[in-house]
């Protein structure tokens, strides 16, 4: 019983204070018929020493890679050591939602700074204090737009991450909102396909940028065709915000997505950092916590959770969302990460990612067993290509070079690069592609 603190005497004393002879007497309100009569086969207890060695055994077969060329919504970016140092402080990670602002100014101010940074990056004036992940944030964004203009059709670019699209559909299934996807042409959202679509009555248009294949979308053209609808700019590679035209520049009403790039480890897909920023008209429709600045009784700067009347604990069935706990510690990680990197560091990471992806592209282009798709289209740090390789041989070639290869999507591969990749890594990947040629 590792984490309970009573001595036998304590228990006896407390029970006698309560006039009970045994602990199980405290459970007398549970009818006997409902009581569990058996022991369950749950392994343990393990002492700390045993626990560590048991888990090390389990983990021993896990393979981590020196060079990662797989992205698709989860990117291997650099994380400064100070990010872990700060977020492993108990004052951050053991505290809960700042219900008592007087003893939570650390969390509150950090989240306020996070909101400011996300607003800066997206160009939009309002940010909440985090969501679960990019996919669920995109679904919530669609619900915001629906509540704003009460229209019940959503257009989603076919260039969105497939998990995001599935999540949007799952969330919207019972709301009376219909979801229609816009097809792609030459790798990006097909503007001409919009010509045939009746855009009046469309609540929102959801575009991912860079899209799932890494291509940079022509969002101005899309906005031009769908003027009346709320533009929802989604990104699953938040690092791109540092160097690409801002969502606000495109007239986005809402920007959302995943800021995993900002200091969150890959960790098999979670926890990551969902975010939402929006224009002022959407402020009262935002889901989740929002931190605001005010003063205390002595007039000193202080921060609190604000606009709580939007939320489930007050508005119940009329709430803007059911979200309660968010991904606050991931937002703390992002705030520390962005503070450390600064604009210069962040833009450097972004440009290096772009540079490495293009180096890889240039190296693949001349290979006989490689057909890069939609050549000439501008891409960020990912691009699709067809490979003529023996799949099994390719997997073996990659593994022996300690490389995580591109994502295999039926029919083609999606290559990604970040600032973490080296020239040598790119050479090794090229060798593997050559070696596995059919």
């Amino acid at each position: 019983m590792p984490y309970t603190n009573h001595s036998g005497d304590d228990v006896k004393e407390m029970l006698s204070y309560l006039g009970k002879s045994e602990i199980k007497d405290l459970f007398s309100s549970i009818p006997d018929k409902l009581k569990l009569k058996k022991k369950l086969a749950i392994r343990g207890p393990f002492s700390e020493k045993e626990l560590i060695s048991a888990v090390e055994d389990i983990a021993s077969g896990i393979i981590t890679f020196k060079e990662i060329f797989c992205g698709a919504g989860a990117y291997n970016h650099f994380i400064p050591a100070s990010v872990d140092e700060i977020t492993s402080r108990q004052e951050y990670y053991t505290a809960y939602t700042p219900y008592q602002p007087e003893v939570s100014q650390g969390s509150l101010q950090t989240m306020f700074e996070y909101q400011t940074m996300m607003a800066e990056l997206t160009g939009l004036p309002v940010s909440n204090a985090s969501m679960y992940d990019g996919a669920s944030a995109a679904a919530e964004a669609a619900l915001m737009a629906f509540r704003y203009n009460k229209r019940n059709r959503v257009l989603v670019s076919g260039g969105i991450h497939p998990d995001y699209l599935i999540t949007i559909n799952t969330y919207l299934k019972n709301t009376g909102i219909t979801v229609q996807t816009i097809p792609l042409k030459n790798g990006i959202t097909d503007i001409d396909a919009l010509a045939g679509v009746d855009v009046s009555g469309v609540s929102s248009v959801i575009i991912q940028n860079p899209n799932f294949s890494g291509f940079i979308e022509d969002i101005s053209a899309i906005k031009e065709r769908t003027k009346d609808a709320a533009l929802i700019y989604v990104t699953n590679e938040a690092l791109s915000l540092a160097v690409l035209k801002t969502p606000a520049d495109y007239g986005a009403a809402i920007c959302c997505g995943d800021a995993q790039a900002f200091g969150q480890p890959l960790a098999l897909g979670g926890p990551y950092l969902g975010f939402i920023t929006c224009s002022k008209e959407f402020l009262h429709l935002l889901p989740g916590r929002i931190i605001g600045a005010t003063v205390d009784r002595q007039g000193r700067q202080a921060f609190v959770m604000t606009l709580a009347a939007r939320e489930q604990h007050i508005r119940r069935e009329r709430a803007t969302s059911n979200i309660c706990s968010n991904h606050a510690l991931c937002a703390v990680r992002a705030a520390v990460y962005l503070s450390l990197m600064g604009t210069k560091g962040l833009q450097s990471a972004a440009y290096l990612s772009v540079k490495n992806a293009h180096k890889l592209y240039d190296a693949l282009l001349p290979l006989k067993n490689v057909e890069i798709l939609h050549t000439g289209a501008a891409f960020f740090n990912e691009f699709p290509a067809k490979l003529k390789v023996d799949k099994k041989a390719f997997a073996g070639s990659l593994l022996k070079r300690n490389i995580l290869g591109p994502l295999d999507i039926s029919g083609h591969y999606l290559f990604a690069a970040t600032e973490m990749n080296s020239d040598h890594g790119i050479e090794l990947l090229i060798d593997a592609v050559k070696e596995a040629a059919e």
């Binding site: 590792p2 984490y3 009573h6 309560l18 009818p31 009581k35 569990l36 749950i42 207890p45 888990v55 983990a59 077969g61 896990i62 393979i63 291997n76 108990q90 004052e91 951050y92 053991t94 505290a95 939602t97 700042p98 219900y99 007087e102 003893v103 650390g106 400011t116 607003a119 160009g123 669920s136 799952t170 299934k173 699953n236 890959l266 098999l268 897909g269 600045a293 005010t294 003063v295 205390d296 002595q298 000193r300 202080a302 119940r316 069935e317 059911n322 979200i323 309660c324 706990s325 991904h327 510690l329 503070s339 450390l340 990197m341 600064g342 210069k344 962040l346 833009q347 990471a349 501008a378």
Partner: protein, 486 residues
């Protein structure tokens, strides 16, 4: 003293060196390029670290002192779990790696799922949901899919008046109307009231057991009969699962689905508000609707099982779940084993009952029923007699190095104080908390006006919340664009 904003200590030209410098790219067309760089802080590493260390010192964390926040289960977060979750083999695995390279991680997820099924008496599980409320949404979407599959999605969800706000909010997101059931004088669901509200348009009854008052719904069998009799489902909000581990299982109580709050029952850190994890376990009839993929095991090989895709509700998020959080819950379960988990519930209940008896003479006990791991008192007597309300009391508690309990919830109790000490507090800590409340009550008698100004020793005093709501300041500086607009 307040800490400056990070933007205020920023000075152009200062920065750390984390990645090689790269100042532009010929590959991003001019039309697609950012025109004005974001105004991120320009601060050297040393000062960034100091800034956030100073900020952290303004927080009350669990390791600073007691944190008896009712319903949130603020128990000790084992440090070894943080250490293990920080190793390379867990941190640096990509969600799209081949299954053969992550067998150990999948094994952990699978074993966690099996243990949670076993603890709750259920047949299937999803680990995708990122939090309790996300689990509720997953559960009710499955509930709707289940009924739709039977020909009628039904229209209503029943919740007791003591329910958490996420219950009705979730029901609304699934297109359901919410009907609130009034609790009886014992603080329980009244089977007669339930009967009156039950019909074949009710999709489910959502309850916690023990409920938010800490009281066990002892008429559970009758409740289950009534709900199932009309074809409805029973949803178990697992927020209070930590009260009954090893003593009772939702599955045996008649529940069809249950979400767990791993950050509550299984001690994964609350992280100033998340990330948590909210797995949902279900009975056999609901299994076809689980989000995909689930974690499968065949011939000693763990895999992502997509076989349920056709009937599934879909996905609740990208990828598979909050892996690092799930891992910590797994470690907590292993460190305890079955006997330890049972002990967790026993001592949580012992601590709560001990504390309740120690302090309840100062307050009104709104319901006389026995309680388990938490309890709710009302300070209505103190408000009436001395004009000191629950907010004043909770603020004063902060001065003694203890976090305040949950206040003004559940809504059925006026001036509510909802207290959950958890199993990881010693008798001495409980005695200290009782003494603190004793002191505060005598202060209320002797000098009530002073308490309106509490707390006195915290980094800031009560913030002006009216101003925070009316003069909205939601970020450090306005964007130039906004200023242009006026």
């Amino acid at each position: 003293m307040s800490e400056k904003l990070i933007f205020e200590i920023s000075k152009a030209g200062r920065s750390g060196s984390f990645v090689p410098e790269c100042t532009g790219s010929p590959y991003i067309p001019e039309d697609y390029s950012r025109k004005i760089p974001p105004r991120l802080p320009s601060v050297p590493e040393n000062e960034v670290v100091r800034h956030y260390v100073r900020l952290s010192s303004l927080n009350h964390g669990l390791d600073n002192g007691m944190y008896p926040l009712g319903s949130c289960t603020m128990k000790f977060n084992p440090k070894v779990n943080e250490k293990i979750a920080g190793i390379d083999k867990f941190l640096n695995i990509h969600p799209y790696q081949d299954e053969t390279t992550i067998q150990g991680a999948l094994r952990i997820l699978h074993e966690l799922g099996e243990d949670l099924k076993s603890l709750s008496g259920m047949d299937g599980i999803t680990l995708q949901p990122a939090a309790g409320a996300h689990g509720e949404l997953t559960g009710l979407l499955m509930c709707r899919a289940y009924h739709t599959n039977k020909g009628n999605p039904r229209q209503k969800i029943l919740v007791p008046d003591s329910s958490h706000g996420t219950n009705p909010a979730t029901a609304a997101m699934c297109g359901y109307k919410v009907v609130t059931l009034h609790s009886n004088s014992e603080g329980r669901i009244d089977p007669d009231i339930l009967k009156k509200n039950m019909d074949d348009n009710v999709a489910a009854l959502m309850i916690t057991n023990p409920n938010t008052l800490g009281i066990f719904e002892d008429k559970m069998e009758e409740i289950a009969e009534i709900v199932h009799g009309s074809g409805g489902l029973l949803y178990y909000d697992g927020a209070n699962m930590n009260a009954v581990m090893g003593y009772a299982r939702p599955g045996d109580m008649g529940f069809d689905m249950v979400h767990f709050n791993l950050h509550k029952t299984f001690s994964t850190p609350h992280g100033t508000g998340g990330p948590g994890a909210g797995p949902v376990a279900v009975k056999r009839d609901i299994v076809p609707f689980l989000p995909y993929p689930v974690i499968g095991l065949e011939n000693n090989r763990y895999f992502f099982d997509y076989s349920g895709k056709e009937t599934s509700i879909g996905k609740m998020r990208a990828f598979y779940g909050n892996f690092l959080v799930l891992l910590k819950a797994y470690l907590f379960i292993r460190a305890n084993g079955f006997a330890g988990l049972k002990k967790v519930s026993e001592l949580a209940v012992l601590n709560a009952n001990y504390l309740k008896k120690k302090i309840s003479h100062n307050f009104i006990t709104p319901y006389k029923s026995d309680t388990l791991h938490e309890f709710v008192l009302s300070a209505q007597n103190i408000k009436k007699e001395f004009g000191v309300n629950t907010l004043d009391i909770s603020k004063r508690i902060l001065d003694f190095g203890i976090h305040a309990p949950t206040i003004y919830f559940p809504l059925v109790v006026k001036e509510a104080l909802m207290i959950e000490p958890t199993e990881t507090e010693t008798k001495e800590n409980l005695d200290y908390f009782a003494d603190v409340l004793e002191t505060i009550v005598s202060e209320a008698e002797e000098e009530p006006s002073g308490l309106h100004d509490a707390p006195f020793t915290t980094p800031v005093s009560r913030p002006d919340e009216v101003r925070a709501n009316r003069k909205l300041v939601l970020k450090a500086f306005s964007l130039p664009k906004e200023e242009d607009q006026g």
